[in-house]
């Protein structure tokens, strides 16, 4: 498989604070990666540098062989790097249909196909029945899905999901895992997920990158990571214990 994204020695310092230090990271096309770590490990900082919301202090970001380190958020979104924020960030006063429509309008989807395309995405995120409801009246979980739908609708190839299952029920979390797997397998999308929910991470069967104090502590399968003493100590330790 080809490398879609590569982070070369990424560092981010805020004044004296080291948020990320010398992160090396590779992601293959069509693959899923979980990024975990205790609070303050630098997960969101890392994703923000990939999405363009933060500029790295040092290091480069290579996407599809192109150096995107200096591109704006919008430019990156147009070439396929799109982000879901930690709290659902959608167009609250518009309907689900209009939300997806705004995303589709940004693509070169021909006018005649637009309507069907919108419903394709709504079907995928199971919001077809609520298409005409202002999304402020949707459940928290539905709003999380809607935001993922926005990223699908702009035909993003690399989805950055910052805690997509936060505030979801157990069932919603499980179906979110299935959605993400389907996006990777059927649509060949690549996904980087920041998560805290251990069950969700296990369900994904995806490689895990552990961050600790802004550095990569370990990379491996969920089982390897879960069995690692160091990881148990800094992260899983207090969950298990």
């Amino acid at each position: 498989m080809s490398v879609l994204l590569e982070a070369k020695n990424l560092s981010k310092h805020f004044a004296g604070l080291v948020a990320n230090q010398d992160i090396k990271f590779r992601l293959e096309a069509g693959s899923i990666r979980c990024v975990i770590g205790p609070n303050g490990a630098g997960k969101t900082t890392f994703i923000s540098m990939i999405s363009g919301h933060l500029r790295p202090t040092e290091g480069r970001i290579i996407y599809k062989g192109q150096d995107v380190t200096d591109l704006s958020v919008a430019r990156r979104a147009r070439i396929g790097i799109a982000r879901k924020f930690q709290t659902p960030t959608v167009f609250d006063n518009l309907t689900a249909y209009q939300n997806i429509e705004l995303a589709v309008l940004g693509t070169n989807c021909p006018r005649a196909r637009r309507h069907n395309r919108i419903f394709e995405v709504l079907d995928l995120i199971r919001l077809s029945d609520a298409w005409d409801r202002p999304v402020q009246f949707l459940s928290h979980g539905q709003r999380q899905w809607l935001e993922v739908g926005l990223l699908i609708a702009i035909e993003a190839e690399l989805l950055l999901l910052d805690e997509p299952t936060a505030g979801m029920t157990v069932e919603e979390t499980a179906s979110t895992a299935r959605l993400v797997q389907m996006l990777a397998q059927d649509f060949n999308l690549s996904v980087i997920i920041i998560e805290h929910d251990i069950n969700f991470i296990r369900d994904l069967h995806a490689p895990v990158t552990v961050l600790h104090l802004g550095r990569v502590l370990l990379e491996g399968s969920f089982e390897d990571v879960a069995a690692n003493d160091q990881v148990r100590e800094v992260y899983l330790g207090h969950e298990a214990g």
């Binding site: 999405s51 958020v73 919008a74 430019r75 979104a77 147009r78 799109a82 982000r83 924020f85 960030t89 959608v90 167009f91 609250d92 006063n93 518009l94 309907t95 249909y97 209009q98 429509e101 705004l102 995303a103 309008l105 940004g106 309507h115 069907n116 419903f119 394709e120 079907d123 995928l124 077809s128 298409w131 005409d132 202002p134 926005l150 702009i154």
Partner: protein, 341 residues
């Protein structure tokens, strides 16, 4: 997966959520018909003055575009309006063998659009938002007024500038003078209708939808790949061009322009019209511009000292009880009626 997608055609009500009620079209058509027939039944001062109020209404719609669609408040609309009037005044002094009023109209569109585009480009791409943008537009108004005062050899300074009434010329086909009230009235009315229709069309087009997206969540739209500052600049430029064009017609209709036309006080009045009329409704903004300015004029003849106080009370009343202005309140009526039954 989408076998039944075609059955779910968005209804009329769906589009109302883009911020401008579809039900408004019927009301707008009725308004324009009434305005079209008015000179048959009324004459005299009303028909003389109404075109000026209608042009205020056009200026109000230019603010409605910014404030209603994009959520950007501007205190600079009167600045553009006055700029248009001065542009027309200066153009009327030209002798190029072409109808100078046409040059004035064209120039006003170019001058207003360009000034707004340049200001907008630098402000929006620098990330100037909300309150700070409002302050800059306030400064724009002050600048127009100050330049009009200081450049007295061109503008006439405090004394203002006299502008001829324009004529409509059709080359070899002849000429219609707009010196009389009724022809002038019927020359201005189509401008109102066309501006309304243009903005109405934009609301349902891609451009209008993206503007609403900016109002609803600018950061989300940016993260979806939109170059938001380009859209905001476009909206501001269009708004400036419309206000400037309306000002050019106002100048030739009123036959006079003074610096205060571009001042902060008048700019604030425009904001009050649109707030009272309803900023989420183009018709609300238009009617706010026409009716509130007419009311202000009427009240000011009754009580020259207190008319602004009266206007202020109406403003506070509307804002406290109907946040969406009169148009917002009217739009809520059917729902209110249903809940009573």
């Amino acid at each position: 997966m989408t076998a039944d997608a075609d059955r779910r055609i968005p209804t009329v009500g769906h589009f109302s959520l883009w911020g401008l009620g579809q039900s408004e079209i019927g009301m707008a058509a009725l308004t324009f018909i009434v305005l079209g027939l008015l000179p048959i039944f009324v004459s005299g001062y009303s028909i003389y003055i109404l075109p000026q109020y209608m042009l205020f209404g056009v200026m109000a719609m230019s603010l409605g575009l910014l404030w209603g669609f994009v959520g950007i408040l501007s205190f600079g609309q009167a600045g553009f309006f006055a700029l248009g009037a001065y542009t027309m005044g200066l153009a009327m002094q030209l002798d190029l063998g072409v109808n100078p009023a046409y040059i004035g109209m064209l120039l006003s569109l170019v001058v207003g659009g360009t000034l707004a585009a340049v200001a907008g480009y630098f402000l929006f791409s620098a990330g100037v938002r909300a309150t700070y943008f409002v302050l800059v537009t306030l400064a724009l108004s002050i600048m127009v007024e100050q330049i009009a005062v200081s450049q007295s050899e061109i503008t006439g300074g405090w004394n203002g500038m006299f502008i001829d009434r324009m004529s409509l010329t059709f080359g070899a086909l002849g000429e219609i003078s707009l010196y009389d009230d009724a022809p002038a009235y019927y020359a201005v009315l189509p401008v109102v209708v066309v501006t309304y229709a243009l903005l109405r069309y934009l609301a349902s087009a891609r451009f209008g939808k993206v503007l609403v997206g900016i109002r609803e969540n600018e950061d989300r739209l940016t993260a979806l790949g939109y170059n938001v500052s380009v859209y905001k600049t476009g909206a501001f430029a269009l708004s400036g061009a419309i206000a400037c064009f309306a000002g050019a017609l106002y100048g030739t209709h009123a036959s006079f322009v003074a610096p205060s036309l571009g001042g902060v006080l008048f700019s604030t009045e425009v904001v009050v019209w649109v707030a009272i009329g309803g900023r989420n409704s183009l018709l609300g903004a238009l009617m706010g511009g026409i009716l509130v300015s007419a009311l202000s004029n009427y009240v000011s003849t009754i009580t020259p000292e207190y008319w602004q106080l009266v206007l202020g009370f109406i403003f506070i009343f509307v804002i406290v009880f109907f946040k969406g202005g009169v148009a917002g309140a009217v739009a809520q009526l059917p729902r209110l009626w249903q809940s009573r039954i």
